[in-house]
Symmetry: C2
Subunit: 156 residues, 2 copies
Protein backbone atom coordinates (compact mmCIF):
# COMPACT_ATOMS: atom_id res chain seq x y z
CA UNK A 1 0.00 0.00 0.00
CA UNK A 2 1.13 3.55 -0.84
CA UNK A 3 -1.01 5.40 1.67
CA UNK A 4 -1.22 9.18 1.64
CA UNK A 5 -3.10 11.45 4.00
CA UNK A 6 -4.82 14.63 2.93
CA UNK A 7 -7.28 17.03 4.59
CA UNK A 8 -10.89 16.92 3.38
CA UNK A 9 -11.88 19.77 1.05
CA UNK A 10 -15.05 21.23 -0.43
CA UNK A 11 -14.61 18.82 -3.35
CA UNK A 12 -15.28 15.88 -1.01
CA UNK A 13 -19.00 16.53 -0.47
CA UNK A 14 -20.24 13.53 -2.45
CA UNK A 15 -17.48 11.24 -1.16
CA UNK A 16 -18.26 12.12 2.47
CA UNK A 17 -22.02 11.70 1.89
CA UNK A 18 -21.39 8.28 0.32
CA UNK A 19 -19.08 7.11 3.14
CA UNK A 20 -21.63 8.35 5.68
CA UNK A 21 -24.47 6.45 3.99
CA UNK A 22 -22.47 3.24 3.83
CA UNK A 23 -21.53 3.62 7.49
CA UNK A 24 -25.17 3.93 8.54
CA UNK A 25 -26.20 1.09 6.22
CA UNK A 26 -23.56 -1.23 7.69
CA UNK A 27 -24.43 -0.31 11.26
CA UNK A 28 -27.69 -2.31 11.02
CA UNK A 29 -29.17 -0.18 13.78
CA UNK A 30 -32.93 -0.26 14.22
CA UNK A 31 -34.70 2.56 12.40
CA UNK A 32 -31.93 3.10 9.86
CA UNK A 33 -34.05 2.26 6.85
CA UNK A 34 -33.01 3.23 3.33
CA UNK A 35 -35.62 5.96 3.47
CA UNK A 36 -34.21 7.43 6.69
CA UNK A 37 -30.64 7.18 5.37
CA UNK A 38 -31.56 8.97 2.14
CA UNK A 39 -33.59 11.62 3.93
CA UNK A 40 -30.71 12.43 6.27
CA UNK A 41 -28.36 12.73 3.26
CA UNK A 42 -30.75 15.18 1.58
CA UNK A 43 -30.40 17.38 4.65
CA UNK A 44 -26.81 16.52 5.52
CA UNK A 45 -25.44 17.45 2.06
CA UNK A 46 -26.26 21.20 2.08
CA UNK A 47 -25.35 21.31 5.78
CA UNK A 48 -21.93 19.84 4.90
CA UNK A 49 -21.34 22.13 1.90
CA UNK A 50 -21.67 25.14 4.16
CA UNK A 51 -19.46 23.71 6.91
CA UNK A 52 -16.68 22.55 4.61
CA UNK A 53 -16.69 26.06 3.21
CA UNK A 54 -16.48 27.81 6.61
CA UNK A 55 -14.06 25.21 8.00
CA UNK A 56 -16.25 24.05 10.89
CA UNK A 57 -16.26 20.54 9.39
CA UNK A 58 -12.73 19.32 8.82
CA UNK A 59 -10.97 15.97 8.71
CA UNK A 60 -8.88 13.64 6.60
CA UNK A 61 -8.97 11.18 3.73
CA UNK A 62 -6.54 8.32 3.39
CA UNK A 63 -5.75 7.44 -0.20
CA UNK A 64 -4.18 4.28 -1.58
CA UNK A 65 -2.40 5.12 -4.83
CA UNK A 66 -4.60 8.17 -5.23
CA UNK A 67 -7.90 6.41 -4.49
CA UNK A 68 -9.76 7.37 -1.25
CA UNK A 69 -10.01 4.30 0.98
CA UNK A 70 -10.85 5.79 4.38
CA UNK A 71 -12.14 9.02 5.86
CA UNK A 72 -12.85 10.84 9.11
CA UNK A 73 -14.84 13.98 9.90
CA UNK A 74 -14.08 16.33 12.79
CA UNK A 75 -15.83 19.26 14.40
CA UNK A 76 -15.47 21.44 17.44
CA UNK A 77 -18.81 21.82 19.14
CA UNK A 78 -19.75 24.46 21.67
CA UNK A 79 -20.52 22.93 25.02
CA UNK A 80 -20.90 24.31 28.55
CA UNK A 81 -17.75 23.97 30.65
CA UNK A 82 -18.35 21.05 33.04
CA UNK A 83 -16.45 18.33 34.90
CA UNK A 84 -15.31 16.61 31.67
CA UNK A 85 -13.74 19.82 30.35
CA UNK A 86 -13.75 22.31 33.24
CA UNK A 87 -11.89 25.19 31.57
CA UNK A 88 -13.12 24.85 27.98
CA UNK A 89 -16.42 25.65 26.26
CA UNK A 90 -15.83 23.23 23.42
CA UNK A 91 -15.40 19.56 22.77
CA UNK A 92 -14.22 17.63 19.77
CA UNK A 93 -16.70 15.55 17.79
CA UNK A 94 -15.59 12.67 15.57
CA UNK A 95 -17.97 11.50 12.85
CA UNK A 96 -18.11 9.65 9.55
CA UNK A 97 -15.24 7.29 10.31
CA UNK A 98 -15.22 4.94 7.36
CA UNK A 99 -12.76 2.42 5.91
CA UNK A 100 -13.32 0.59 2.61
CA UNK A 101 -13.94 -3.14 3.23
CA UNK A 102 -10.91 -3.93 1.06
CA UNK A 103 -8.70 -1.97 3.48
CA UNK A 104 -10.04 -3.03 6.87
CA UNK A 105 -8.05 -4.62 9.70
CA UNK A 106 -4.88 -2.84 8.60
CA UNK A 107 -4.85 -0.02 11.15
CA UNK A 108 -6.32 2.72 8.95
CA UNK A 109 -9.08 3.70 11.39
CA UNK A 110 -6.55 3.84 14.24
CA UNK A 111 -4.35 6.08 12.10
CA UNK A 112 -7.31 8.41 11.43
CA UNK A 113 -8.23 8.46 15.12
CA UNK A 114 -4.66 9.42 16.06
CA UNK A 115 -4.88 12.30 13.58
CA UNK A 116 -8.15 13.35 15.24
CA UNK A 117 -6.56 13.41 18.72
CA UNK A 118 -3.68 15.63 17.57
CA UNK A 119 -5.91 17.94 15.57
CA UNK A 120 -8.28 18.48 18.51
CA UNK A 121 -5.40 19.15 20.90
CA UNK A 122 -3.88 21.56 18.38
CA UNK A 123 -7.22 23.41 18.31
CA UNK A 124 -7.48 23.54 22.10
CA UNK A 125 -10.00 20.76 22.84
CA UNK A 126 -9.22 18.45 25.76
CA UNK A 127 -12.26 16.19 25.47
CA UNK A 128 -13.86 14.54 22.48
CA UNK A 129 -16.95 12.46 21.80
CA UNK A 130 -18.27 10.21 19.04
CA UNK A 131 -21.22 7.97 18.31
CA UNK A 132 -19.97 4.41 17.91
CA UNK A 133 -21.38 1.73 15.67
CA UNK A 134 -21.32 -1.78 17.11
CA UNK A 135 -18.51 -2.56 14.67
CA UNK A 136 -16.44 0.46 15.64
CA UNK A 137 -16.76 0.14 19.39
CA UNK A 138 -13.99 -2.41 20.13
CA UNK A 139 -11.50 -0.32 18.17
CA UNK A 140 -12.44 2.88 20.01
CA UNK A 141 -12.14 1.07 23.34
CA UNK A 142 -8.65 -0.07 22.41
CA UNK A 143 -7.78 3.57 21.67
CA UNK A 144 -8.92 4.78 25.10
CA UNK A 145 -12.52 5.78 24.41
CA UNK A 146 -15.21 4.83 26.96
CA UNK A 147 -19.02 4.83 26.97
CA UNK A 148 -20.63 7.97 28.40
CA UNK A 149 -23.83 8.47 30.41
CA UNK A 150 -25.66 10.08 27.49
CA UNK A 151 -29.35 9.31 27.05
CA UNK A 152 -31.69 10.36 24.25
CA UNK A 153 -35.37 10.60 23.41
CA UNK A 154 -37.23 11.05 20.15
CA UNK A 155 -39.91 13.68 20.65
CA UNK A 156 -43.35 13.59 19.00
CA UNK B 1 -47.29 22.73 48.17
CA UNK B 2 -48.11 25.85 46.16
CA UNK B 3 -45.89 25.14 43.16
CA UNK B 4 -45.40 27.73 40.47
CA UNK B 5 -43.42 27.46 37.25
CA UNK B 6 -41.42 30.29 35.76
CA UNK B 7 -38.84 30.57 32.97
CA UNK B 8 -35.22 31.09 34.01
CA UNK B 9 -33.92 34.65 33.61
CA UNK B 10 -30.60 36.48 33.69
CA UNK B 11 -31.14 36.94 37.43
CA UNK B 12 -30.77 33.18 37.95
CA UNK B 13 -27.03 32.95 37.24
CA UNK B 14 -25.98 32.20 40.81
CA UNK B 15 -28.94 29.91 41.47
CA UNK B 16 -28.20 27.85 38.35
CA UNK B 17 -24.47 27.67 39.18
CA UNK B 18 -25.34 26.50 42.69
CA UNK B 19 -27.80 23.84 41.51
CA UNK B 20 -25.25 22.67 38.93
CA UNK B 21 -22.53 22.35 41.56
CA UNK B 22 -24.77 20.41 43.93
CA UNK B 23 -25.78 18.11 41.09
CA UNK B 24 -22.16 17.28 40.26
CA UNK B 25 -21.29 16.91 43.93
CA UNK B 26 -24.16 14.46 44.50
CA UNK B 27 -23.32 12.46 41.38
CA UNK B 28 -20.23 11.00 43.09
CA UNK B 29 -18.66 10.37 39.69
CA UNK B 30 -14.94 9.70 39.56
CA UNK B 31 -12.90 12.82 38.87
CA UNK B 32 -15.52 15.23 40.16
CA UNK B 33 -13.40 16.64 42.91
CA UNK B 34 -14.22 19.93 44.63
CA UNK B 35 -11.43 21.50 42.65
CA UNK B 36 -12.82 20.32 39.32
CA UNK B 37 -16.35 21.38 40.30
CA UNK B 38 -15.18 24.86 41.29
CA UNK B 39 -13.01 25.25 38.20
CA UNK B 40 -15.90 24.37 35.90
CA UNK B 41 -18.11 26.91 37.70
CA UNK B 42 -15.49 29.62 37.19
CA UNK B 43 -15.78 28.96 33.45
CA UNK B 44 -19.45 28.03 33.34
CA UNK B 45 -20.64 31.26 35.02
CA UNK B 46 -19.52 33.77 32.33
CA UNK B 47 -20.54 31.25 29.66
CA UNK B 48 -24.03 31.14 31.23
CA UNK B 49 -24.34 34.92 31.64
CA UNK B 50 -23.86 35.37 27.92
CA UNK B 51 -26.26 32.55 26.96
CA UNK B 52 -29.04 33.64 29.31
CA UNK B 53 -28.72 37.06 27.74
CA UNK B 54 -28.89 35.84 24.13
CA UNK B 55 -31.57 33.23 24.95
CA UNK B 56 -29.57 30.19 23.86
CA UNK B 57 -29.78 28.84 27.43
CA UNK B 58 -33.37 28.67 28.59
CA UNK B 59 -35.39 26.57 31.00
CA UNK B 60 -37.58 26.66 34.07
CA UNK B 61 -37.58 27.02 37.82
CA UNK B 62 -40.22 25.47 40.04
CA UNK B 63 -40.96 27.50 43.14
CA UNK B 64 -42.73 26.45 46.31
CA UNK B 65 -44.32 29.50 47.92
CA UNK B 66 -41.88 31.73 46.07
CA UNK B 67 -38.76 29.72 46.92
CA UNK B 68 -36.95 27.92 44.06
CA UNK B 69 -36.99 24.16 44.72
CA UNK B 70 -36.17 22.68 41.31
CA UNK B 71 -34.69 23.75 38.01
CA UNK B 72 -33.93 22.62 34.47
CA UNK B 73 -31.73 24.05 31.74
CA UNK B 74 -32.40 23.65 28.01
CA UNK B 75 -30.46 24.39 24.84
CA UNK B 76 -30.77 23.73 21.15
CA UNK B 77 -27.46 22.52 19.83
CA UNK B 78 -26.41 22.45 16.19
CA UNK B 79 -25.87 18.92 15.00
CA UNK B 80 -25.49 17.30 11.58
CA UNK B 81 -28.73 15.79 10.25
CA UNK B 82 -28.45 12.01 10.72
CA UNK B 83 -30.61 8.95 11.33
CA UNK B 84 -31.77 10.17 14.76
CA UNK B 85 -33.05 13.46 13.31
CA UNK B 86 -32.92 13.12 9.52
CA UNK B 87 -34.50 16.43 8.54
CA UNK B 88 -33.18 18.67 11.30
CA UNK B 89 -29.78 20.20 12.05
CA UNK B 90 -30.46 20.63 15.73
CA UNK B 91 -31.15 18.60 18.81
CA UNK B 92 -32.39 19.51 22.24
CA UNK B 93 -30.02 19.31 25.20
CA UNK B 94 -31.28 19.01 28.77
CA UNK B 95 -28.90 19.97 31.58
CA UNK B 96 -28.79 21.06 35.19
CA UNK B 97 -31.87 19.11 36.28
CA UNK B 98 -31.97 19.62 40.02
CA UNK B 99 -34.56 19.11 42.76
CA UNK B 100 -34.04 20.18 46.37
CA UNK B 101 -33.74 17.11 48.64
CA UNK B 102 -36.76 18.36 50.63
CA UNK B 103 -38.89 18.15 47.46
CA UNK B 104 -37.73 14.86 45.92
CA UNK B 105 -39.95 11.88 45.04
CA UNK B 106 -42.92 14.17 44.42
CA UNK B 107 -42.81 14.26 40.63
CA UNK B 108 -41.06 17.62 40.22
CA UNK B 109 -38.32 16.34 37.90
CA UNK B 110 -40.93 14.57 35.74
CA UNK B 111 -42.86 17.84 35.54
CA UNK B 112 -39.72 19.70 34.43
CA UNK B 113 -38.89 17.00 31.87
CA UNK B 114 -42.42 17.26 30.41
CA UNK B 115 -41.90 21.02 30.06
CA UNK B 116 -38.61 20.29 28.26
CA UNK B 117 -40.31 17.96 25.76
CA UNK B 118 -42.96 20.54 24.86
CA UNK B 119 -40.50 23.39 24.66
CA UNK B 120 -38.19 21.47 22.31
CA UNK B 121 -41.09 20.44 20.07
CA UNK B 122 -42.34 24.03 20.02
CA UNK B 123 -38.86 25.10 18.86
CA UNK B 124 -38.72 22.45 16.14
CA UNK B 125 -36.44 19.80 17.72
CA UNK B 126 -37.51 16.16 17.33
CA UNK B 127 -34.65 14.57 19.26
CA UNK B 128 -33.08 15.46 22.57
CA UNK B 129 -30.13 14.28 24.64
CA UNK B 130 -28.90 14.61 28.22
CA UNK B 131 -26.11 13.35 30.44
CA UNK B 132 -27.62 11.29 33.23
CA UNK B 133 -26.35 10.94 36.75
CA UNK B 134 -26.74 7.48 38.27
CA UNK B 135 -29.50 8.92 40.44
CA UNK B 136 -31.37 10.46 37.51
CA UNK B 137 -31.19 7.52 35.16
CA UNK B 138 -34.18 5.44 36.40
CA UNK B 139 -36.42 8.49 36.17
CA UNK B 140 -35.31 9.29 32.63
CA UNK B 141 -35.87 5.68 31.61
CA UNK B 142 -39.40 5.83 32.96
CA UNK B 143 -39.96 8.94 30.83
CA UNK B 144 -38.86 7.23 27.60
CA UNK B 145 -35.15 8.14 27.49
CA UNK B 146 -32.64 5.44 26.51
CA UNK B 147 -28.84 5.14 26.61
CA UNK B 148 -27.03 6.14 23.41
CA UNK B 149 -23.87 4.79 21.76
CA UNK B 150 -21.83 7.87 22.69
CA UNK B 151 -18.21 7.36 23.68
CA UNK B 152 -15.69 9.91 24.93
CA UNK B 153 -11.99 10.39 25.48
CA UNK B 154 -9.99 12.90 27.46
CA UNK B 155 -7.12 14.16 25.32
CA UNK B 156 -3.64 14.97 26.65
Amino acid sequence: MALTIRPVTSDDVELICEQRERLFRESNSPGRTEEVIRTQTTHFRPWLVQRLRDGSYFGYMLEDAGKPVAGIGLMLIEWPPGPTHPTSDKRGYVLNVFVEPSHRRQGLAAKLMALADSEFVRRGATYAILNATKMGRPLYEKLGWTATNEMAKTLR
